[in-house]
């Protein structure tokens, strides 16, 4: 910071002077002079990853290092991130918090103290990766839509397909937006470790971005296609009977209190049975036959978010709980119960979408065929998690 006063020209400007301090690594040897890794956690692989370094232990835990406990509580006196915000359990979680009293010392259980801390996001998301990914996706979508616009690609669409896109592809933005905010962003306050909550917030941004991608694509179409109704998606979402099942179940998902149930029901049940059914088995399959090569690129980005990123961390998260050395049985029971609850709800919503299959001129593969594929995709995910496929799937 230099002085603002006007100084006579001859005097030197007041600026800090560089000083040679030789404070770089390796300049001297002394205890710890080579101890250049974070020493408060055990890496999941042999070497700690960059992702782990910037993520692990930022959110503290009274069971290991947080000697004085949480400092602020809710009105019931509970602070921090209570483990019972989900019914699922990880090993060690039932042990009481270390007791503190005059002269108790500050040591807790050895790290990690309980199994929740063993979760690592296989996508290794932190700020550098999430912005790089997000920026690449929006750039790609922008380019695709822009090229299509220049090539007048939308002129090939037949009127029924225009209606289909304005109504149905449009309506899907509301699903992504609602879940992105009220399920995923909401859940980023709920999980007991920073690894969980960061992965969940990245999932949230995927959904919010995809919702906006669809909205902005809708805006471009209103500008490019004569008679394209840019508001039709709102009516469809509010009134179209085919969509009310999806809307009902999406809202019901945001009403879940237990954060594990919310993530599980959304990413393990709803996404394959309803999300991929609509996006992959309807939109992606119907579009080419109706002369549309653009919509699949926009929708495909959201499909990729789920299939390659969000599902990946979700599986890793629940795999740990299913295999937990203390509570595997307990967790399996709850997960099975959640499957029995959410499969019928999602199947119901899926079936209500059926009329959409007959709307385009060039028909996609039959609804039943699409649903079968969605079901087998779902079964595959459940089986990979080593859970039983619920009998409700065949109803």
């Amino acid at each position: 910071m230099t002085t603002a006063e006007a100084a006579p020209e001859a005097t030197e400007r007041s600026v800090p002077k560089p000083v040679f301090t030789d404070a770089e690594a390796g300049a001297k040897e002394f205890p710890d002079s080579k101890a250049r890794r974070f020493n408060y956690f055990t890496p999941s692989k042999r070497k700690q990853s960059h992702y782990e370094d910037v993520t692990v232990e930022v959110q503290p835990d009274p069971r290991h290092y947080l000697a004085q406990g949480w400092l602020y509580g809710f009105s019931d006196g509970r602070g921090g991130y209570p483990l019972d915000w989900t019914v699922l359990k990880a090993w060690g979680g039932d042990r009481p918090e270390p007791e503190r009293y005059p002269g108790s010392g500050g040591k807790g259980y050895d790290w990690p103290a309980h199994g929740w801390h063993e979760f690592r996001d296989p996508n290794e998301e932190w700020e550098l990766t999430l912005y790089r990914y997000g920026a690449n996706v929006v750039r790609q979508i922008n380019q695709n839509v822009e090229i299509a616009r220049q090539a007048k690609a939308f002129e090939q669409w037949n009127p029924n397909w225009v209606r289909f896109v304005e109504r149905n592809v449009g309506a899907w933005m509301h699903v992504e937006h609602g879940l992105g905010l009220y399920l995923f962003a909401n859940a980023n306050r709920r999980a007991p470790t920073n690894m969980h909550n960061n992965a969940i917030s990245v999932n949230s941004m995927h959904k919010i971005r995809f919702a906006q991608d669809l909205a902005l694509y809708n805006l471009t179409l209103s500008e490019e296609i004569e008679g394209f109704d840019g508001k039709a998606h709102v009516d469809t979402w509010n009134e179209d009977p085919a969509w009310q099942g999806v809307r009902r179940v999406a809202e019901q998902l945001t009403a879940i209190d237990d954060w594990c149930e919310a993530i599980f029901a959304a990413n393990v049940v709803f996404e394959p049975l309803v999300g991929e059914l609509f996006r992959s088995h309807l939109v992606q399959h119907a579009a080419p036959g109706n002369g549309d090569f653009v919509t699949p690129t926009v929708v495909g980005a959201g499909e990729y978010d789920y299939a390659q990123r969000d599902l990946r961390y979700t599986k890793a998260m629940f795999q740990l709980l299913v295999d937990d050395k203390e509570f595997a049985q307990h967790n399996r029971q709850h997960l099975s119960a959640w499957l029995s609850t959410w499969v019928p709800r999602c199947l119901g919503a899926a079936r209500e979408l059926q009329p959409l299959w007959s709307q385009p001129d060039a028909k996609p593969p039959r609804f039943e065929e699409a649903l079968d594929r969605a079901k087998s995709r779902f079964s595959g995910i459940v089986t990979e998690l080593d859970l039983d496929v619920p009998k409700e799937l065949n109803q």
Binding site: D53, W70, W126, L181
Partner: protein
């Protein structure tokens, strides 16, 4: 995107907000505030299509600078005095950042205007950015700075250190209790709008003056997101003000949040800037001068005061009192002296002050030498082990202070200390405002009004109590502040690395008298003894001097 297309895009994404028809989203956080459901404008106007590339571009600059700093051997001219304090700062700050992310959902159901939620979600991911980019900076310091000790253990040590819990309020205050008190008033209206200027602008300038231009690169990049967050807070505040029933709560929360932020942030950042620097040019601004500009003028006069006409009751008295503490009562100096008194309970090294430092302090804070000079001379004299104890156990005319139960900074301005018996414990407070926070504000009723959603101050809030009766060597081992030879301490009261004879080890600590918790002792006294103790304590100071024996 062109300006016009950004505006159009923003208008379009307003169509995304919808009200539920069949099931309400889960409601997990309570507030005693009330909000009218009214159509609002999204204050952020941020579309992810431009947001992601913008943030990526900012990242390019930050990571480019990081590569450049390493290639250019920046650490050959970084001041150790400065970097050592970064071991504390960079252990604190990623937690408040990530807590701000976690705080956003507290507002979803309590502020029932879906138009605001988009901005809150973007703030959430901004905060994930801040937290991880700061962790990454710390990692870079650990890898490239001469002494990795303390950086390498920061997230364990921050959570059990003698000063660390003070900083944790700045995070936990965002995520629990009444949702509006926490995520709106404490976080956005006070912490972000008032205090990020000292954190992210004033402090980086000081870093640059100490040879570190990476901290400014990272923190200016962080600060560039902050104006969006301030808009979020402002929109919520205006909505809260629209309902008169909220005015009493707003007055309460602004008092609490203002005072707590002052106690916590000014303690830490004031110490870093005044005692962590080697830049003693007379024309460089002191923390007090920066405070006057950033906080008093820019925040108080320009941001808060204009809100008075909307019915916001502003804690003018506490704002003037914070200035009084900084300017007349030596708040920052008292804190720095306390942090250095307990150097052995920290995990960084604290450099003694020199003649040159004394001169600067005297110039910027007339009367400084008479108050603090002798003590810092003693600190330098006792900095290498030579048969004496660490300064905390030597007679240097310093009475070890009581902790403030609320802000957890000790009761350093001795004359202000107050006591109260609360929940079966006699507690000490650094100031009437901290007593009020515990005894009156954080309670289920406030001035006769039911406040069932108000949070509670919980936890084991005096560090000393956990170690009451312990030998210091065991304390330091328990916390894990020992280097890899198994006995040399991470903390040192000097910067002389390499000469093992000058390094303090656990062996030196074994000979010290045990730790005594002032609060445990206070509670063992009879009521009369306590009164006498209190009367004596408030006659002590400045600079921690015990009360004169006569008078």
């Amino acid at each position: 995107m062109t300006r016009q297309s950004v505006a159009k895009a923003h208008e379009k994404i307003q169509e995304l907000a919808w009200e539920p028809l069949y099931h309400e989203p889960v409601s997990q956080y309570g507030t005693d505030y009330t909000f009218q459901k009214a159509k609002k404008k999204d204050p952020l106007k941020q579309v992810l299509r431009s947001y992601f590339p913008m943030q990526e571009e900012k990242d390019h600059r930050v990571y480019g600078a990081a590569d450049g700093a390493i290639r250019g051997n920046m650490f050959r001219q970084v001041q150790e005095r400065w970097l050592e304090w970064q071991k504390l700062f960079l252990s604190i700050i990623p937690l408040p950042e990530i807590s701000a992310a976690r705080a956003m959902p507290l507002l979803f159901r309590t502020v029932p205007n879906p138009e605001l939620h988009n901005g809150q979600a973007i703030q959430m991911i901004d905060e994930v950015r801040h937290s991880t980019i700061q962790q990454n900076l710390k990692r870079l310091y650990m890898n490239n700075y001469i002494d990795p000790a303390g950086f390498n253990s920061s997230l364990r040590n921050f959570q059990n250190d003698y000063c660390g819990t003070i900083g944790r309020q700045f995070a936990e205050g965002f995520i629990t209790g009444d949702a509006i008190t926490a995520a709106s008033i404490y976080l956005t209206i006070v912490a972000e709008t008032a205090f990020t200027n000292t954190l992210f602008v004033a402090m980086p300038a000081e870093a640059a003056a100490n040879g570190d231009y990476l901290l400014p690169t990272v923190f200016h990049s962080v600060q560039s997101d902050e104006s969006r967050h301030i808009s979020n807070g402002y929109a919520t505040l205006l909505m809260a003000l629209a309902d008169e029933g909220n005015h009493q709560l707003l007055a309460r929360d602004l008092r609490y949040a203002w005072w707590n932020n002052h106690r916590v942030v000014d303690a830490a950042i004031g110490t870093f800037i005044e005692y962590g620097t080697k830049d003693r040019r007379k024309d460089r601004e002191s923390y007090a001068e920066m405070w006057r500009r950033w906080i008093y003028d820019d925040y108080y006069r320009s941001y808060l005061v204009p809100l008075e006409k909307y019915g916001l009751e502003i804690p003018h008295d506490l704002i003037e009192e914070a200035w009084n503490q900084i300017w007349n009562k030596g708040y920052v100096h008292e804190v720095a002296q306390f942090f250095a008194t307990g150097w052995l309970a920290n995990y960084w090294r604290i450099d003694p002050m020199t003649e040159k430092d004394f001169e600067w302090f005297e110039y910027k804070y007339p009367g400084w030498y008479d108050r603090y000079g002798k003590w810092w001379e003693n600190y330098a004299r006792l900095s290498h082990p030579n048969g004496h104890h660490p300064i905390v156990a030597e007679d240097v005319d310093y009475q070890y202070p009581h902790r403030c139960w609320t802000c957890m900074v000790p009761c350093l301005v001795r004359e202000d200390m107050v006591m109260a018996e609360v929940d079966g414990q006699v507690r000490t407070y650094c100031h009437e405002a901290c007593r009020w926070t515990d005894v009156e504000a954080f309670r289920p009723t406030y001035q006769g009004r039911e406040t069932p959603n108000m949070g509670q101050l919980i936890g084991h809030r005096e560090w000393e109590t956990l170690y009451h009766g312990w030998n210091w060597a065991d304390v330091v081992s328990d916390m894990g502040y020992v280097r890899d030879d198994g006995k040399t301490m991470v903390a040192q009261p000097h910067l002389d690395l390499g000469d093992q004879k000058k390094m303090w080890t656990l062996d030196h600590l074994r000979r010290m008298p045990p730790v005594q918790s002032p609060n445990v002792l206070l509670n063992e006294m009879s009521p009369e003894e306590r009164e006498a103790f209190h009367a004596n304590y408030v006659r002590g100071g400045p600079a921690g001097r015990p009360a004169p024996a006569d008078a």
